[in-house]
Symmetry: C2
Subunit: 464 residues, 2 copies
C-alpha cells in the first residue's frame, strides 16, 4: 500500500487510555471541589460566531483564533476586491465561525443571552478544550483544556475567600503540599502608582514588574524608564519588591505607604475582608506554610497578572521546587459582560491549568493507584472447554461490579499475560482442567506474583 | 449600548447546569458499563488533518466536513488560478485541518499511528463531540456527542455477544425496559441475494429494504425493480420481510433458504455462535421480552445498516412506543484501518446516540433524583452577625463532604429562597438570633416544606 502515513495536526495530541484515566482523575478532583462549593457545570459549543470572539483578545489574540471556513460554496458571495484586499478582509467574507479561544468570553456570551433565566449570583464551572493557533512548543499546545470557575452577580468577598479555599483543596487533594497561592489587588497596584507619583500608570508599571522573576530588578528598572516612568518613581517603587515579614506585616507597611490613596484603601480593605473570611472559615490555606517556611497564602504586591480586565483581587498559584509556570490564576472583574452590552455585572473567577498540573503530579509521582480504573481481572482462555467454563464465571464477576474480561481467543499464555501486563490488569484468573474439576480457580496477583486457589465466590469477595 | 446581541452558530447548543448534569448521568452509565467490559478511554484531537478525513465519508460527507482556515496569511501561497477554479480547489489550498466528523476514522488513524505500541486486542471507548455541516433540524445538530466502543485485533464473536450485553446493561441501568436490539449479519444479506438469484447485489437490495419502515413493501418493490433487481428475485425476497416465530425458528427457516450459499452459511454460523455465547453468559438480553411479547434481542433479516463498511454482524437498537429513530448501532468490519494502509485488522464496534437517549429518558421521566448533583444545603444570610456565625458552620458542612453554600450577601429572604429553588437545593439552613443563642439551627426541607431545629452535627448526619 502506498498510502500516506497519517498524522495529527501539530500542537494537538492523542490521549491514550493510561493518560485519559490520569487526566480524568485530575478533572474529577477539580469537579468535586467546584461542586462542593456550589458551582455547577456549563458547556458551550466548540464553535462560536467569529464576531463574538473578535476584538476580545487584542490584535495578537485575533490572529490566533482558528477560523472555520463557511460550508458550501464559500466563494459565492465573495468579490475579487475582497480577495485583492488580502487574507484579513477575505476571512470576514469566507468565515463566520471560529473555535473557542478561552472559556471566559463564551461564559460572558452565555450570561448575556440567558440573563433573564439565570438566577444570580450565578456560579458556574466549565471544563472544556480551547484552541489557539500559537506556535507549538514544549508545554504549549494548540488544543488544551481549561478548567474555569466563575461567580457573577455579587460583590461579596466571600467568593474570593472561597476561591483560595478551592485552590487549596484541589491541590492538597491531589497530594501537593509545597505550593504558594499569591494574592494581590488591582487597587493596591493603582494605589502604588499614585503613591509614587505616577497615578493612572499602573498598567505600564504592572507589565514591567510582572517580569521581575525573568529579567530581575535591573531589567524591570530599565523597562519602567523606557515606558516613561520617572526615575524618582522607580526608586520609590523598588522597596516594594522586597516587602518583608508576615502577610500582616506587609499589609501594615502598605497601609503606611498607600494610606491616602482611594484605590489603595479599597485594595487593602478588600484584602482584609478576604483574610477575615478565611480566618473565620479556619482555612487551611491561611494556616499552612510551604517548605521554605513562608505562608502558603502570600500577599505579593508584585503580582500583576492580566490587568486589562481584572479590577479587584488577583490570584496566581505556583508549585514550589518544580520548574513550571503558574498552575492556576484568576481575579475579579467588574465588567465582563460589558463587551456584549450588559454592563455592571461584577464577578470573580479562576482557572486551573490541567496540562501543567498533570506534569507536576507525574513528576512528583503523586498519581494514586486508584486512578487506574481499568479491568480488574482477566480470565485466561486455554481452549474451547475452558472458554465455556469461563463464561458464567465472567458473568458472575461483572454482576458483582468487577470490571473483567475473558481473553477472546485461545492465544498463547505468554501473549495473554502480556495483554494483562500492558493493560496493568492486577489479577489474572487461570482455569485449567484441574481447576475445572475442583471448582477452585487460580487467582494470580500480577503485582506480587502470588497465586491462590479459590472458589469464584472467594475471588469475588477478595476483588470487591 | 448599541452592541449587537450575541448568538451561537445555528445547529449548536449551550448546555446549562441542569442539562449538563443529566447528560453526565447518561455518560456515566455508559462509561461504567464500557469499563466493566474492559474498554478503556481514548481521546483524539478535535482537529484532524483534512487529508485524514477526506474521502472516508463519500462525496456528500466530504461536503459536510467543517474545514479550518489555515492560520496566518492563508492566501500567501494561493495563486489566482486556485481561486478561479472555485471553492473546492481553493479549500485544499487554504485549509489543512478539519473538525472531527465521527470517532471511527480518528480511531483507525490512532490505531495505525500507534500500531507498534498497542497491545491487541485493543478495546477502546471514546466519548467526544463531532461536527457536521448538516442542515440543522429537530434532533439534528451540527455539534453532537458520539459514544463509541470498538475492539480491534480479534475475530472472536464473544465481542459481538458482549456488545449485546453492554447495550442491554446501559439501557436497563437507565431504566428502559421496552426496547429491541435488532441483529443481522452481512453474510445473511449476501446469502439472500445469492439465493434469490442476484448474487453480489446485496448493496442495492439493502438500500431498498432499509426503507421498509418508511415506504412499505410496495415502495421497496418499486425501488428494487428500479435498481434492476429482477421481478422474480423480488418476489422470492418478499416472504423474508415477515419471517415469523422465535429467533430459533427464523434461523431454521434461513437455514433452509440459505443452506447452500457460502456467505449465508458464514452468517448463520456467526449468529449461532453469538447466541451460544449469550446463552452461556445467561444474558438478560437473550431472555427478556419487550412489552409486545417479542424477544428483546431480535434477529431481523431486513436490518441493513451501513453496509458499505460492515462485513459481519450488524446491530441496531430501537426504544419501542417512543417516536425516535435508533439509539444505538454498530457492527463488525474487516478492514477499518485499510484506509490508512494497514490491512486485515478486524474489529467490531458500536455507538450510542446520546442526544436521542437523553430525549427518551426525559420523555419517560426516568432521570433519577440522584442525577441532580448540585448544592445540598444553602445557608441563608440575614446580616453580618449571622454571616459570621455561619462561616464555621459552612466549613463543617463542606468538611463532611456536603456540597454547601452560604448566600454571599444579606439579600431579602425571598430572593435567597428563590435562589435555592432555582438551583433545586433540597435543604436551606436559617440562622437567626434565636438559633445563634440556642445553637439549634433551622433546617428546612425544601421538598416537603418542613422545618426542624437541629444542632449542626445533627444536620450533618441527616444530610450525609
Amino acid at each position: 500500500m502506498s498510502k500516506e502515513k497519517p498524522s495529527i495536526p501539530k500542537g494537538t495530541r492523542d490521549f491514550g487510555p493510561a493518560v485519559v484515566v490520569k487526566r480524568n482523575y485530575i478533572f474529577g478532583v477539580i469537579k468535586r471541589t467546584f461542586e462542593k462549593f456550589g458551582y455547577l457545570p456549563l458547556e458551550t459549543p466548540a464553535m462560536e460566531q467569529l464576531s463574538v470572539l473578535t476584538g476580545k483578545y487584542g490584535d495578537e489574540g485575533d490572529q490566533l483564533i482558528f477560523k472555520v471556513l463557511n460550508s458550501g460554496d464559500f466563494l459565492a458571495k465573495t468579490k475579487q476586491a475582497d480577495i485583492d484586499e488580502g487574507h484579513k478582509q477575505l476571512t470576514r467574507k469566507i468565515s463566520e465561525k471560529a473555535l473557542r479561544y478561552d472559556l471566559t468570553v463564551p461564559f460572558a456570551r452565555y450570561v448575556v443571552m440567558n440573563r433573564n433565566d439565570i438566577t444570580f449570583p450565578f456560579k458556574r464551572y466549565q471544563i472544556q478544550p480551547v484552541w489557539r493557533a500559537d506556535r507549538p512548543q514544549k508545554g504549549r499546545y494548540r488544543e488544551f483544556y481549561q478548567c474555569d470557575a466563575d461567580v457573577v452577580g455579587t460583590n461579596s468577598l466571600l467568593c474570593e475567600a472561597e476561591i483560595v479555599q478551592m485552590i487549596n483543596e484541589v491541590l492538597t487533594t491531589l497530594g501537593l503540599t509545597d505550593f504558594t497561592i499569591k494574592i494581590n489587588h488591582r487597587g493596591i497596584l493603582a494605589g502604588i502608582a499614585e503613591a509614587i507619583g505616577e497615578k493612572g500608570r499602573e498598567g505600564d508599571i504592572c507589565v514591567a514588574i510582572d517580569k521581575l522573576d525573568k529579567i530581575g530588578q535591573e531589567g524591570v528598572r530599565k523597562e519602567l524608564l523606557e515606558r516613561g516612568i520617572s526615575e524618582e518613581a522607580v526608586t520609590k517603587l523598588e522597596p516594594l519588591y522586597s516587602l518583608e515579614g508576615s502577610n500582616e506585616a506587609v499589609l501594615d507597611q502598605l497601609h503606611t505607604l498607600l494610606g491616602d490613596t482611594a484605590e489603595g484603601q479599597r485594595g487593602l480593605k478588600d484584602l482584609h475582608d478576604v483574610w477575615n473570611y478565611l480566618s473565620r472559615l479556619n482555612s487551611e490555606a491561611l494556616n499552612a506554610q510551604n517548605e521554605s517556611g513562608n505562608p502558603r497564602l502570600l500577599l505579593d504586591v508584585t503580582l500583576a497578572r492580566g490587568l486589562s480586565y481584572y479590577t479587584g483581587c488577583i490570584f496566581e498559584v505556583k508549585v514550589n521546587n518544580v520548574s513550571m509556570g503558574s498552575i492556576s490564576g484568576g481575579g475579579r472583574y467588574d465588567n465582563l459582560t460589558g463587551m456584549f452590552g450588559l454592563p455592571d455585572v461584577s464577578g470573580v473567577g479562576f482557572s486551573f491549568g490541567v496540562d501543567r498540573i498533570y506534569d507536576v503530579i507525574e513528576e512528583l509521582q503523586l498519581f494514586p493507584d486508584s486512578s487506574q480504573v481499568g479491568t480488574k481481572a482477566l480470565i485466561v482462555q486455554f481452549d474451547k472447554e475452558s472458554e465455556i467454563y469461563a463464561l458464567p464465571v465472567l458473568q458472575k464477576l461483572r454482576d458483582a461490579g468487577i470490571a473483567s474480561e475473558l481473553y477472546p481467543e485461545p492465544a498463547k499464555l505468554k501473549k495473554q499475560m502480556g495483554y494483562a501486563d500492558q493493560k496493568s490488569i492486577p489479577y489474572v484468573i487461570l482455569i485449567g482442567s484441574e481447576e475445572m474439576a475442583s471448582g477452585k480457580l487460580k487467582l494470580r496477583n500480577m503485582v506480587l506474583g502470588e497465586q491462590q486457589d479459590l472458589t469464584i465466590d472467594d475471588i469475588i469477595s477478595q476483588l470487591k
